[in-house]
Symmetry: D2
């Protein structure tokens, strides 16, 4: 069985000779076939390779904006033939001999970042730069958009699912909630009473919006081009919204902040225009926290900013906040299920990509894939 | 008496009609006459204007790189006719009715930043952005390169000189030591055992080098184009120096850091090339602390940096560290007099500018002007 | 006119000879007459003494637990003859020549702490230890339970009242909200998802409870002896309450925290038993934040705690958070009026003390006195 | 072979029947026999028990004050029969299947704290409270005063020895340097220009003294009863010393600090008198950092301290600073060998204990045991 959305091109792949797979040990998986092409294929089930590995049977996964980037061919570390996906929950199937925190049958949350817990970066809690981990799932090793996945460094890359937790909500904790929180809210030093602007009301910007409220900022201004998403932002807690289509977002923000600008500007798009808007709206002493995945350089106007006492941060999510987010989820301070707009079965994942890839018309935020 | 280095142009100034000044109430002062022009003029002695003012008789002052920027016409807030200078020590001559911390006869250090102590920025210890102060001396009000100066917000902009302190060394505490320390070392989060690069071995870069050592970094790499200044840097404590003339500074830094890059990169020049070198040499998790006064935008390569967990900071010095620097000076941990290369009397200040303005040939770092 | 609740003793005071006061320049004021005694007296209206002073006409004030301590004779810095009170809002009547931030007619919030903004402590934002200020109102100088009060260091000890603000709510910002927030919540490092216990559900403990929620802790356990106050705590956001009358509070807290103890324990009573309960319930790595005013030593069980990586903090409120609290009040994140249970006119302030002093039976939290 | 310093009592131990040990697989080890008793015994060489274990052949070890506490019977977690010692360097002999950072033949530094790197405490960098580690070596499992030792969680509990490093100096990094640094200097927030007092000039106090200088405090006052140790402290960098035998240490410290007290007070003894001295000498806003191992409660004078804005910390060393200390050792900022006063062979370890246990007369600080 081979399902692709771009059959003709698939013959370009060297590894596409028919493979006769034992039904017992095969599984369905969404595979990156090459720029612009993906396929739902049959693949061998993953096996334990290192004593610290676990094999997890996926129950729910989702699609990330980064997956779309990969499909455009923008992520050189991800080679054709790779099973995509770095988010999900599931059930432990098998564990390596050195795994002590989990056993077969445990329900687990999968972190998008794998962490050995002992390299120089892990010891600084910078798991994103783990020398044998980091963001490797669905990137340099096979990912979670499949029936099974191999998780390296399982003890520090999986989390037990608390009894009674809602597993759909938990899928939001694999990546977008920690990303919005760590890269946007923590790096942006959101504080009680402060003024925050979030540029970009996509799933990541909305995740930043949800988690910024942990710190009770006085104002949260959401900026986007899409009125529908701004409407969602209002429901999620934005105190003001600005549609920047007219090129007057700077004025609007200044009017909302008594001409001071914002204490925290969170960039959640990844293009020069939105980053440079952040440079303009930031108040003296403020912080620009970049979340966006940028493909080109931006202009940094140091001729205006050198004496403004500002801070700019970048970060690949470390997922160090996952235990805290699990705690806070248990206390019902946020409802990440608000981010979920569509649900699909794994064998309809091609439709799920179609829906997620046309968010403007489908109004999709996050789509749940049930395996 | 009128001494100028560019007499013809001085007639352009509307306020240059001859003024008959009472000898008693007049003083000599170095005046910015207009782009490219300065003069040593006779000026009326300053008077108390607000109850929080003090008049200080200058005993020693100095010239800053920023004064050269003003003379090029690069600082629009500084208008022709302005007495330059924002550094110095002196003796209190007179105080306004609300000044309680100082009285006539007190020997004082003058901060380059004036702070009211009560506005929204002062209350965040961001004195640089004081709504009625900040860097105003020798900029929007008359400065210290004169026999007398009016100091607004005297109680929080002057510091008592400890008995027995060396006043020449203290002149370095008006601006360059707090600037190197706050904008470079504190913002750059220099820590014991860490690796630091300082790009630019001028007076400010050397001030950063001296004060970085308060935190015992493991390595301090000094980068400059001038071998003489690099030699000075070695004597000041740099553990390695790199002459970047050959365009291979990146390689050199990587070789010195086991290919990791540096934890802190301090930019102390103010041009795109040096800032962009900092972007290349910064290690994941590191901090680029900008001190340089930039006149144009720089390219920020977010396509490389978005996932590197770095921080970039800018800052106009707040001089919040002045009390600490006074303490540490008393304990002889640093010798800021090392920065002083030349000395002049006030009536030779035109020569002092000549010497300071041609540092490559004169090997000048800081010049002391005695009033 | 002399109203006292304990007339006989008043003759002990040396300064009680009859004073013939000009009606124009006299006012009513609540005076500490000596241990156990207070009186509503006629007093001369205060005058400007220093150029940084302001005279404020009180519109609303309140009574603090500390006032009861003074009346017991427990505060040696407060001498008989003192007008009590360190909280309130009012209208500026007159300002000294160096006051620039306020003018007659401005509506202002009075901080319980006076800060010069320029001494060594103010420059560290430790206003509580200002060398010419700190907590002096209604302590070493006359206070706010009167028709008028003199406020030293007015520019940095008063706050403009935002248009449309509720002045009753603002009275809570003079002392108890910043006290609960700074001494309890900030010092206690309350963080999203963490577990907090507050020992003592009086006004200060409840202020800590309200402001702890700025940081979205996962659990807030309120501990007290009074079921009524615990009931109030539940309405204010406590996730669990423990009545410690049965001596089993330790067990109860351990059961609520999976035997780990709490990340933050806030002591809001001021006696050995409650502090020592905090020592027992604190988790490894946690923080005990003391707010209580203690009259005797406590046992610190270092034989149990030396290896537990805990932190203990003490603090007299600095009121550095007042601008932030004003911001957050404007954004309606909290409703401090919930703390107000009773209202009195100034000439009934003796009744107000009676009500406030018998809180167990009257269920009083904060009482508003209208002048 | 059985060497004891208290033969008669050894018969009390149930496990002291003669064991016939194969010469190949036996080793010499210093064993805690029971309160007041220790012996150099033959013991079986340790074996790998978990895939994360390593066996290390000890080359150098040392004796800690804590070992003397154990011998007094003060550490209930350490049972008779235990091989003592939690410090040392050696050569990896064997590794478990999940150890990836080390292989046989590697020269390693042994941390006194074992850390799994993945439990809730390790993820907060609180290795001291690792749920399957912490301080277990020479306490709840056999330690390093032997020819071989089993190290659990080897990947995150051993450190590679840099080429050319002095192994004697490195033994100081197993425990006392990180202890002095983390519990004293880091917890005590030592800062440039600040004033520090260290109470207790034993090896730990001296380690705090050495590492406090990483932050360039303005003054370091060393307090002890022993003039010899104070003399050593002067050589190690103390700016003042106080012999507290006369009971006037408080006055002496106040005189050295212009009556303000110290910003940081480090307690390095572990008895009530020294902790209470810290309570008296701490300045408003200061920090008391406890390092001492306390056997009884102390009096905490909250009646004096409740409004002084102080912080008290306790900590069992986490050894999170070990990588940094290794870096800084390479840059020759400190010379920990200064702490080494005596050297012994392993078969003379009973003499080493004798020397170390009578430090007042032998002037011993740290003794090196060569295996």
């Amino acid at each position: 069985m081979l399902i692709t959305d771009s059959l003709p091109e698939s013959t370009e792949r060297g590894d596409l000779r028919p493979i006769y797979i034992d039904r017992q040990s095969s599984m369905k998986a969404l595979v990156y076939v090459g720029p612009g092409k993906k396929a739902l294929e049959n693949r061998p089930k993953p096996e334990i390779k290192a004593p610290t590995d676990a094999i997890v049977k996926i129950t729910k996964t989702t699609i990330c904006g980064t997956d779309l980037h990969i499909l455009k061919g923008d992520v050189p570390t991800c080679k054709p033939g790779r099973i995509l996906g770095h988010e999900g929950v599931g059930i432990v199937e098998k564990t390596g001999s050195a795994v002590t925190a989990f056993k077969a049958g445990d329900r687990v949350l999968i972190s998008c970042v794998s962490a050995c817990g002992k390299c120089v970066y892990c010891r600084k809690l910078m798991y994103s730069h783990c020398t044998t981990g980091g963001w490797i799932l669905g990137n340099s090793i096979d990912g979670t958009q499949a029936e099974y996945v191999r998780i390296p460094h399982a003890d520090s890359s999986l989390y037990p699912i608390p009894a009674g937790a809602d597993e759909e909500a938990l899928v939001m904790l694999s990546d977008i909630l920690p990303t919005g929180f760590e890269c946007g809210v923590l790096n942006g030093k959101v504080q009680p009473g402060n003024t925050v602007a979030i540029v970009g009301a996509g799933p990541i910007g909305l995740a930043a919006l949800l988690t910024a409220q942990f710190y009770s900022p006085g104002k949260i201004i959401m900026i986007d081009l899409d009125d529908n998403r701004l409407e969602v932002a209002k429901r999620f807690g934005a105190t003001a919204t600005v549609n920047s289509t007219d090129g007057k977002a700077l004025d609007a923000v200044m009017n909302l902040t008594e001409k001071r600008g914002v204490d925290t500007a969170i960039e959640a798009v990844g293009i020069p225009a939105t980053f440079e808007l952040c440079e303009k709206i930031i108040a003296p002493g403020g912080t620009i926290a970049n979340i966006g995945v940028h493909g080109t350089k931006v202009d940094l106007h140091l001729e205006n900013l050198w004496d403004r006492n500002i801070t700019i941060t970048t970060r690949l999510v470390d997922t160090v906040s996952t235990p805290m987010l699990l705690n806070i989820l248990q206390s019902h301070k946020i409802d990440p299920k608000l981010l979920i707009t569509h649900r699909f079965k794994l064998d309809k994942i091609m439709d799920a990509y179609e829906t997620f890839g046309h968010a403007a018309s489908t109004r999709a935020l996050k789509v749940i894939i049930e395996a």
